[in-house]
Symmetry: C2
Subunit: 529 residues, 2 copies
C-alpha cells in the first residue's frame, strides 16, 4: 500500500500536467512487484511544452546573479535535506539500496548543491577577462574587450539508475546546469519514478521559495520521449549518465539536429587496475581484499567499478589472483537495482563464459532470484593487445577480469590498446615508482582520473575531481560530470567591445564590485581598473 | 616564371613525401593563370602516414613543458618574420591581397604565436587545482586530488582562404593546438598552396631548431583527402575555418566516427548591425561612411563583415540608408581571392535579386572580369521575423542587406529570430542606452562578440577576445578561434589521486616550482603547500 500520494504528472513550468493514462508503473527492486505508484508518460506535446517552459525561463534565469543562483541551490539543498523517512522508504523500495547508503547519497546530493553555491559565491566561473583600450597603439588602436562566461541555454538531463539521488533528478548534471544559469528539463528515470517525483517536488519548493522563474526546472516521465527532448530546438546541451548504447543514441540524435548541440554522456568504463610487483609482494593479500570490496561494493553497480585487473606474470601475481578469487567466491549475493540490470549482468556473464580466450576463475554460479553473485574471470593477455571488443566493454555488476602480461613492455602495450576510461589505478610501492612513471604518462591520455594505491569506487565531489575521460568513458573528454569544473560544460564565452559602463555586467565593471579575480591585460588581479 | 623552387610534396614526420603526379596547380587570383607551382595531392596512404606521424609525436610533445613549447612558438614566429619579399610576391599572386595587408597579416600571425608563448609562460592554461587529503574526515577520509589540463591529442586543421597567413598554415588554430601540446596535421588550402608550402617550411625550420619531435607538424595537399584526415583514429580534434557547407560536412564525418571527436568549425555569420535612433540622428552620415568601409574592406571577404543592417522605420533611418547606398555605389571594384569565391558571390547576389521580399538598392551592376562590386539590398522586415533562410545565410563578399522594423518590440523579435552570430553591433548614443539594454541581453545569447559603436571587421588577438558564437557561426559555441582562450578547445582535464610526490608534474607539486596561480582547497594562491 502506498505510503504517500503522488500525482504521477509531468512538472512543466511550475505546473503539474498530464494527459492520457498513468500507465508507467513503479516497481520494487527486490521482487519486481508494483510499489503502488503510477506515472503518466509525457506526450510529445508535453515534451514540447517542457522544453518551451525552459526556454521561456532562460532569459530571466540567465540574468540572475551568481549570488541569487547560489541562494537557489542552497534552498534546493535544504529541501533535499528535509526529505523524510517516507522518502527513503520509497527510494529503497525502488532501488534496493541500503538505508545507510541512501542517507549518504542524499548528503552527497545536497552537499554538491552547496558546493556549487559556494563556487558561485566565489565567482570565478564567470571567467572575467579584460583587455583595456589602447587608443594610441599603432598601426591600429586597440578597442576595450571584456570577456565573461554565460549560460549556454536550456539543458536536457538524463539521470542514472545507480545513483537515484546523486546522479538523478537533483544530481550533479542538474546542479551544474542550474548553477551555470541554464534551465533544466529532466527526464525521470524509469527505475525510480516515485523517487524522482518526490525529488522534483523538493526542487519546485525551492523554486517557489526563491522566486525563480517558473520553468527553471521541469521533469517529464516516459522512455521514448527522451529522443524528442534531445531534438527540441530549445534544448542547447544534454547531460546523460548511463549505458554506452543509450548515450551514443542520444549523442547521434543531437549531432544530426539542424543545429547540433554538445552532449556530455558518461557511459562506459572498465577502470583498469594495474598491480605492480613490489606492491603485490608487500601486501598482495590486503590488495586482494580491498579490490574485492571495491568490485562488489553496491553490487558492482558503479561506473567506476574496477573491471580489469592487470599485472605481469609472476608467482606473486598468481598468488594474488588466487586470493582475489577466494574473496570473490566468499562475497554474498546482492539485489540489483532492477530486473533489467540483472538481466544485462547475466547476459554479460554469458558472453564472458562463451569467449574462447576468457576463463571463469571464481564466483558462485547460483543465486537467489533477483540477486547477483560476484564473479572473477581471467583473460589471455593477447586479447588486450588485440583490443578485444568484449574485454573493452563494461559489464555492469560485481564482476572483474584479470589478465597477466609477459613483461613491462607488453603491459604498456596493453594499456596503450585500451579505450578511454573514467579511471585507471596504479597499485605501486616505492620500489615500483620507476616502472610506474611511463605507465602514468600513458594513463593520463587514457583516463579522466588516475589513482595511486586506492580503489576507483568513491568519487569525491570537489574542485579538483575529474569524472570524465576519452570515449567511450564519455562522449566528450573535455568535460567532467562530478566536481565544480562540471559547470564549464554548460557555459560559453562572450565578449563585449567598447561597451558603455552603464551596460557592463558587474563582473566586468571597472570598479570590480564583485571582488572577482580577473585577468586584466594579462595579469590576474582583484584590483579595480 | 616561378621566382623560387617548391617541391610540392607533403610534409610528413619531418620528411617531404610524394607519390603520383603533381597535378594540383596554384593559380593567380587576378587572372586565374597558373603561378607556375604544382603540388602533389596526398594519397590516402600519405594522409594515414601524416596522422600516424602526429600520433607518434604526441607522447613526447604532450610531455614538453610549457616553457619548451613557448620557445618553440617563438621560434616559429621568428621564422615567419624572416620570410622575405619573394614570399610576399607569391602570397599576393595567389590571393590578390594588397602588400600592406599581407605585411600586417604576417605581423598578426607571428604576433599570435608570441601571444600563445606568453600564455604558456604564464602557465594558467594548466588550470592547476589541488584538494588536499583530509585523512580524519568522517564518515570517509578525503583523498588528495590534483587536477591539470593536458593536450587532447593530434589535431587536424583546415585553414581559410581569406587569411592565407593568420587563419591558415601557421594561423590561429595551428598556434592554439601547438600551444596546447597537440601535434597538427594541416590540410593545405587549395587557394594558396605555394604560400602554404613556404609557411610550412618555416614551421619545419623551427621544429628542427628547437629539437621538437618530428611529426609535431605535418601538412598535406589535396581537397578530398580532408575527409580521410577527419576520420583517422589518431586525430582527436578538428579546427576549421570556412563555409557552412564545408564545416558541417567535416563535423558530420567527425561525429559519425566510432569515436566521435570535437570539431571547432568557424563557418557562417551575417553579423547584424543595429543602428539606434539617436546615433543616426547625431552622426548618420558618418555611420554610413564607416559602415560602407567595413562592408567593402578586403572586398567583403571577412567572416565578420556586417551583412545585415537593422533599424526602426524613421526618416533618419531612411536618410541613412540612402547615404549608405551612395557609399556602396561609389566603392571601387576589387579582385576576389579566387574564381570560386567570385562565382559564389555572384550566385549569392542572383539569389538576392530573385527573392520576392528583397530589393536591390545600390551597387554597380557591371565589373571587370575577376572583380566584384559592392552591393546593397533592402529586405522587408517580415522576412526577419519569419527567419527567412536566404536572409540568415552569409553571402561572402562586399554586400549587405538593410531592413527596417516597425518599432522596438519588433526589432527585439527580429533579433530573437536570428541564428547564432560571430558578432553583433549596436550603434548607440547615450540617449539610446536605455533602449539598448534589452537588445544587449538578447545579443549576448546570439553572438560571441557584441560591439558598441564600432564595426565588426578587425578581430583583436588578445586574452579577452571571443571569435565564436552559437551555430551556425561555429559548430561549438563553447570555443573561440581567436585569442588565448582558443587553446582551451584542445585541452582536457585530468586528475591525479594520492600520487607519490616524485611522479607529480611540476604544476601540481607541493612546492609550486612554476609559481602558478592554483586553486588550492577553494582558494586561489601561489603559495607552496
Amino acid at each position: 500500500m502506498p505510503i504517500t500520494t503522488l500525482s504521477g504528472k509531468q512538472f512543466i513550468g511550475g505546473q503539474r500536467v498530464a494527459s492520457g493514462a498513468a500507465e508507467l508503473i513503479s516497481l520494487r527492486a527486490d521482487n519486481g512487484q508494483p510499489t503502488g505508484y503510477r506515472f503518466h508518460p509525457a506526450s510529445r506535446h508535453e515534451a514540447d511544452c517542457a522544453a518551451r517552459a525552459a526556454q521561456s525561463a532562460f532569459a530571466a534565469y540567465a540574468q540572475t546573479s551568481c549570488r541569487q543562483r547560489a541562494d537557489f541551490l542552497d534552498a534546493i539543498a535544504d529541501q533535499l535535506d528535509a526529505l523524510d523517512d517516507d522518502f527513503f522508504t520509497i527510494v529503497q523500495q525502488e532501488t534496493a539500496l541500503p538505508p545507510a547508503r541512501l542517507r549518504g547519497e542524499r548528503a552527497r546530493t545536497s552537499g554538491q548543491m552547496r558546493l556549487f553555491a559556494e563556487l558561485l559565491r566565489r565567482g570565478d566561473v564567470i571567467g572575467a577577462r579584460i583587455d583595456t583600450a589602447q587608443p594610441q597603439r599603432v598601426p591600429l588602436p586597440r578597442a576595450d574587450i571584456r570577456q565573461y562566461h554565460t549560460a549556454i541555454g536550456p539543458v536536457a538531463v538524463f539521470g542514472a539508475s545507480n545513483f537515484p539521488l546523486a546522479f538523478s533528478t537533483a544530481g550533479g548534471d542538474t546542479a551544474a546546469a542550474l548553477a551555470a544559469g541554464c534551465p533544466v528539463v529532466f527526464k525521470a528515470h524509469g527505475g525510480h519514478m516515485a523517487t524522482a517525483e518526490l525529488t522534483a517536488a523538493a526542487i519546485e519548493r525551492a523554486v517557489t521559495q526563491q522566486q525563480m522563474p517558473a520553468g527553471v526546472f521541469n521533469m517529464i516521465f516516459g522512455e521514448r520521449i527522451g529522443a524528442d527532448l534531445v531534438q527540441h530546438p530549445a534544448i542547447q546541451a544534454v547531460g546523460f549518465t548511463g549505458s554506452l548504447q543509450g548515450g551514443r543514441a542520444l549523442f547521434d540524435l543531437a549531432q544530426q539536429r539542424p543545429q547540433p548541440i554538445p552532449v556530455f554522456a558518461e557511459m562506459s568504463s572498465i577502470n583498469p587496475v594495474i598491480a605492480l610487483p613490489q606492491a603485490l609482494a608487500q601486501r598482495g593479500r590486503h590488495i586482494a581484499q580491498q579490490l574485492a570490496a571495491s568490485i562488489t561494493l553496491g553490487c558492482g553497480q558503479f561506473c567506476t567499478k574496477p573491471g580489469l585487473i592487470l599485472g605481469v606474470h609472476s608467482p606473486a601475481f598468481s598468488q594474488f589472483i588466487t586470493e582475489l578469487g577466494q574473496q570473490i567466491e566468499a562475497a554474498e549475493p546482492q539485489t540489483m537495482l532492477n530486473a533489467a540490470t540483472l538481466r544485462h549482468y547475466r547476459q554479460g556473464l554469458r558472453e564472458l563464459d562463451q569467449h574462447p580466450g576468457i576463463a571463469h576463475l571464481a564466483g558462485r554460479r547460483t543465486a537467489p532470484a533477483q540477486q547477483a553473485t560476484a564473479q572473477l574471470y581471467q583473460a589471455e593477455g593477447r586479447l588486450l593487445l588485440a583490443a578485444d571488443t568484449r574485454l573493452q566493454e563494461e559489464v555492469f555488476g560485481p564482476v572483474a577480469i584479470v589478465a597477466a602480461l609477459d613483461d613491462d613492455t607488453q603491459l604498456l602495450q596493453a594499456l596503450n590498446a585500451l579505450q578511454g576510461q573514467l579511471t585507471a589505478t596504479l597499485l605501486a610501492d616505492d620500489a615500483d615508482l620507476a616502472a610506474a612513471a611511463p605507465l602514468l604518462a600513458c594513463l593520463t591520455h587514457k583516463a579522466g582520473r588516475v589513482l595511486f594505491n586506492g580503489y576507483p569506487t568513491g568519487v569525491e565531489v570537489c574542485d579538483a575531481m575529474v569524472h570524465g575521460g576519452p570515449y567511450p568513458a564519455t562522449s566528450d573528454a573535455r568535460g567532467t560530470s562530478v566536481g565544480t569544473l562540471a559547470i564549464a560544460r554548460f557555459m560559453r564565452p562572450v565578449c563585449l567591445q567598447n561597451t558603455p559602463p552603464s551596460l557592463l555586467p558587474p563582473a566586468l565593471q571597472d570598479e570590480n564590485p564583485l571582488n572577482l579575480l580577473r585577468l586584466v591585460n594579462g595579469v590576474y588581479q582583484r584590483d579595480p581598473l
